[in-house]
């Protein structure tokens, strides 16, 4: 791996770590439930980006499937929580 690629990967991972910390702060301080769900939505997206970057670091394509699964289940989780906020129950 060339030094340019290595440093850009480290920079991107640092940015994503900082972004996850900021989203976690919003998750903890978020005044209402919908703010917390929004922060959780951002948090799973950033975790998915971290896994994509780790797939480039370790040169393995199985990280890609993990990222796809996180994208899938994150959407399901956010939709279920929004439905819970709307109705008070998920499956009616």
């Amino acid at each position: 791996m060339s030094p340019l690629l290595r440093w850009s990967l480290m920079f991107a991972l640092g940015c994503l770590t900082l972004a996850m910390i900021l989203a976690l702060a919003r998750l903890l301080i978020g005044p209402r439930a919908q703010d917390r769900v929004l922060a959780f939505d951002a948090l799973y997206l950033e975790a998915m980006l971290v896994i994509l970057a780790l797939g480039l670091v370790y040169r393995s394509s199985s990280y890609f499937e993990a990222a796809l699964l996180i994208a899938l289940f994150g959407f399901v989780g956010t939709t279920a929580m929004s439905k819970f906020l709307l109705r008070g129950e998920i499956i009616e």
């Binding site: 920079f11 972004a19 900021l22 919908q34 703010d35 929004l38 980006l49 939709t79 906020l85 709307l86």
Partner: protein, 109 residues
């Protein structure tokens, strides 16, 4: 994955990674700093669109040159996010509208 990619592929990947990381960081900063929920709901979409597309294109470029054949599966992720992120945002904003209406009615009574 043994052959080294040419320099321009590494440079393209580096630009895409830096851009995607900065987009995710700016989105999270907006999520933390903006004032109300209706302003905050816009911020993370920066990471969901620009960040995801940049990372997936970087992955596609690197893996394509490492394998010697086009690897477009990585673009499934941003396509999927582009389909699902508006749906979850609409659900969340509808829930917020409902909850604010309930809270206003409870305050009025």
């Amino acid at each position: 994955m043994t052959t080294a990619a040419p320099f321009w592929v590494d440079a393209l990947t580096a630009v895409l990674l830096v851009l995607g990381g900065l987009a995710a960081l700016i989105g999270a900063l907006g999520l933390l700093r903006l004032g109300s929920f209706w302003q905050r709901v816009h911020a993370p979409t920066l990471g969901a669109t620009l960040g995801t597309w940049c990372f997936a294109l970087a992955t596609a470029a690197q893996v394509s040159f490492a394998r010697g054949q086009p690897f477009v599966h990585a673009l499934l992720i941003p396509l999927f996010i582009a389909l699902t992120a508006p749906i979850s945002t609409i659900f969340l904003t509808r829930a917020t509208i409902f909850r604010e209406r309930v809270a206003r009615r409870a305050r009025a009574d």
